[in-house]
Amino acid sequence: MKFDVVIIGGGLAGMVCGIRLAEAGKKCAIVSQGQSAIHFSSGSFDLLGRMPDGTEVSDPIAAMAELGKIAPEHPYAIMGEKFCAEHLQQAPEILRSAGISVSGDCRKNHFRITPMGKMKPTWLTIDGYLTTASSERLPFEKVCIINVEGFLDFYPEFIAEEFRKQGVVCNFGTINLPDLERIRRNPSEMRSVNIARVFDREENLEVLAAKIREMASGCEAVILPAIIGIGRDDAFDVLKSKVNTPLYLLPTLPPSIPGIKAQQALQHRFRSLGGEYFLGDTVLSAEWKDGRVKELFTANHGDIPFRADHFVLATGSFFSKGLVATPDRIVEPVFGADTVFTPDRAEWYTLRFFDRQNYQAFGVRTDRSLRVVKEGVPIENLYCAGAGLAGFHPVQEGCGAGVSLLSALFVADRILKGE
């Protein structure tokens, strides 16, 4: 099979890179193992929430300029302030073109509300999810937090405990339905996806709306866990149209409905642009010629090679096995690329869970064009995008999604410019 570009990894970076290239007329393939960090999405996309020293960021663009000076190996610094600033509009446009409607401003972070009621600075949030412009003020004074009875992955009491700090009065409500009773019969089935399927049914949505109307009386807003609209896109809008009180969603513990929906939407968009998406396949080996990647062989395609002019490594970090840790080193398993890490295992971590752990910034070694380096030499036609990159702390700095989105666009840009 011959493509212009083959992308390995179907997470946020791989998919956005593929969409951008396909939009520009490139013939692309994505080879995806199937699971990526999008499945644990919070419903928001962070750009830069905190500086490496922990200082909260209000204006991400200004902070990125600062970051370039203090952390020159950060992917943002490598891509450069100018590139990032120029492409910060393109990322939400790509999401919107896929049908993921997001709001946010790259010059001013807003706050997403977590399943535990905490407020975290972020860049883009999917419409429908509760956000606030200031971490000191919520958009209501009396709210009703509703949960599905027996759903253990959402925490109304924890949320209320945080809200009360701002003087918000919190009521609680629980929902139960005969259809929910059916999934409850199996003790491990009360999870977000199964519940959402129940509410895909019109009659259940109707009952839910009626109960919300009842419980919301006297409240300015209603909060629901993100258990709406797995099989249909309009479920939340239908629900909102049946309730007079403003309705907001909050993310749950994984699996994340907004994450799964975003994954599906991006996949659909990529395919509709003519991209080929190989789900559940794994790249096993690469053939090289003259210092370039010539072709790839995968588990499902046996001796049929994937040939391309350019390849993009977007396999993610440890969780998705883009990086593999052995007791003494960090391995990039597809190409055997060079990796950035400290050799002494004792330096990989501290014993406090919430510390910045060094291992989180380990990753694939690249040059300043994000070309993958192997045995000290950059590979001309192999780029790296996304969580597999080195030099950043995606969670502590609140920059995981931003790095994935921008590095995907950066790599697409290089390929399109024929570098």
């Binding site: 919070s42 977590t114 253990l152 009491e157 003790p187």
Partner: protein
């Protein structure tokens, strides 16, 4: 007003819990004080091996005899805490077979059944054993769950009138002339100090007993000996595997519930470190290297956690250099030894002999306070062990099968008390270990659970392959349901649970363990936005 007791026990490990039960059964008014949760010291940080005594047969005949006697008693009184697996002592080519002859002879002398079996038969019995073994001896080793065992002793002690207070640290022994008459203790929850009086104070503090004795101006010459262990992600072996040679590092592999454990190392540590045992990369490497010789499959098995305990070894009183160390039971009557009335130290020994240690201690207490009752702890089953698993299972047939089995294995006959009225209560909090909402609620209400780490000790929530990935959050959610204070505390508690969990994972954080940790970071710090701020406001 200060309460008055016959006996105050300091320390809530297996020994302290055993003394509390023995005292309570003999009608003695007893108070047990523990500075943390029960079984947090060496009790919860060992192999969980139900020794047959075979390991000591060659080197320590007396310990071997005690072990096999207690082994038989525990099978009877603590059936729900014990797994009768049997064990193999295997000889590898490098060990030779000479030791086997000496070993079998010594076992028989100690009254321990030791059957020499054909190497082929041994491999058939235990496919995980190193296939190059040249000899094997089958002995009645088994597995014992120290958390369950201790919790059961506590439950029975309370049922017979004992008072048990956890998170109470003894700060002072109250002395009147040459007599200890009570203790002052700090309550970590109420943040107040309380005073208690008793005729006898028992020091059952394990390695911390050194410091407790010091409060009475008494020196007990203890040597903290650190032992590190690794827990593997699934049950590799069904029989306990030992090396048939002189006891050495990392030569016991014990199956327990859903996991297997290898240990231990042995190294002296300073007293300043006993509160914060950290497993080093060198210890991990040693355990793996030696463990693979017992069972080569360990090289490919995921490691869940590394942890270390501190044995309270006691140097003989007549050897000031501290070199002559006994692993036997040490019962010190400080009236005789130091002229200090009303104060007893019970230490040394091992988990296997906790009941015997308790019996000796309680006998001495009875002598001191003039109680005539005799010990019955060897005959009366512990709560949970009064009925067979089959009988219990009949009573709770309506529950989902895996949950039914796992709750019986954890709580024995007490599984009946777990609320399973409806599907809400049967819903799973922890999928790895099949822990239901009902079981978590039962543990919070009846088993003295104060936080998530306590809960893990009582129910195995968070002990499985995922090490508390999502179940910790769910359990915290249930604990936080009661009122606003609970919600705040539960969140802080979740943060300390994650710190505790990570401490055990960091030394082995590569491969799947590192993957799991990255995922945890995404979920808890990313999606949920938890941070260390929560730790700072911890109510402790």
């Amino acid at each position: 007003m200060n309460a008055v007791y016959d006996v105050i026990i300091v320390g809530g490990g297996a020994t302290g819990a055993g003394v509390a039960r023995d005292c309570a059964l003999r009608g003695i008014k007893v108070l047990l004080l523990e500075r943390s949760d029960i079984s947090t010291g060496a009790t919860g940080r060992n192999h969980g091996l139900l020794h047959s005594g075979a390991r000591y047969a060659v080197t320590d005949h007396e310990s071997a005899v005690e072990c096999i006697k207690e082994n038989r008693i525990l099978r009877k009184i603590a059936a729900h805490c014990v797994e009768e697996t049997d064990g193999l002592f295997i000889s590898l080519p490098e060990d030779g077979l000479e030791y086997q002859t000496v070993f079998v002879e010594a076992c028989r002398k100690a009254g321990i059944r030791a059957d020499v079996i054909d190497p082929q038969e041994a491999k058939r019995l235990e496919p995980a054993a190193n296939p190059s073994l040249i000899g094997a001896v089958r002995v009645p080793d088994g597995a014992v769950d120290p958390f369950r065992l201790t919790a059961s002793n506590i439950l029975d002690a309370k049922a017979h009138g004992a008072e048990v207070r956890t998170y109470m640290e003894v700060t002072e022994l109250i002395r009147e002339q040459d007599r200890i008459v009570g203790v002052k203790a700090y309550d970590y929850h109420a943040r107040t100090e309380e005073t208690f009086y008793a005729q006898v104070v028992v020091n059952a503090g394990g390695i911390w007993g050194h410091g407790i004795a010091a409060k009475a101006g008494i020196t007990v010459n203890m040597l903290p000996a650190k032992g590190a262990l690794l827990i593997f992600g699934h049950r590799v072996n069904n029989l306990v595997l030992n090396r048939c040679r002189k006891p050495a590092d990392a030569d016991i592999l014990v199956p327990g519930d859903t996991i297997s454990l290898i240990g231990t190392t042995s190294s002296k540590v300073p007293f300043e470190e006993v509160d914060n045992m950290i497993v080093t990369p060198a210890e991990v490497d040693l355990l793996l290297r030696e463990g693979e010789k017992l069972s080569p499959i360990l090289a490919q098995t995921r490691i869940l956690r590394a942890y270390a305990g501190v044995r309270p070894l006691v140097a003989s009183d007549d050897d000031p250099s501290g070199r002559t160390v006994s692993r036997g039971i040490v019962l010190l009557d400080h009236a005789q030894r130091d002229g200090m009335q009303g104060f007893i130290t019970i230490t040394g020994g091992k988990l296997m002999t906790y009941r015997l240690m308790a019996e000796w201690t309680t006998d001495l207490i009875c002598k001191k306070i003039g109680v005539k009752e005799v010990c019955r702890t060897a005959e009366i089953p512990l709560p949970g062990s009064a009925e067979s698993k089959e009988e219990v299972e009949k009573k709770i047939r309506n529950r989902p099968i895996t949950q039914r089995r796992s709750s019986i294995s954890r709580h024995g006959a007490m599984a009946v008390e777990i609320d399973s009225e409806n599907s809400l209560k049967n819903s799973l909090v922890c999928e790895c270990e099949e822990v239901s909402v009902g079981e978590v609620e039962y543990a919070m209400e009846h088993l003295g659970v104060n936080n998530l780490i306590d809960l893990r000790r009582r129910t195995r929530v968070g002990m499985g392959t995922c090490q508390g990935e999502l179940c910790a959050c769910r359990a915290a959610g249930l604990m936080g349901k009661k009122d606003p204070v609970c919600a705040r505390k539960a969140k802080a508690d979740l943060a300390s649970f994650l710190n505790e969990r990570w401490k055990g994972m960091a030394p082995i954080a590569w491969g799947d363990t590192l993957r799991e940790s990255e995922y945890t970071t995404w979920v808890y710090q990313g999606v949920c936005g938890l941070s260390d701020e929560t730790t700072k406001i911890a109510v402790k």
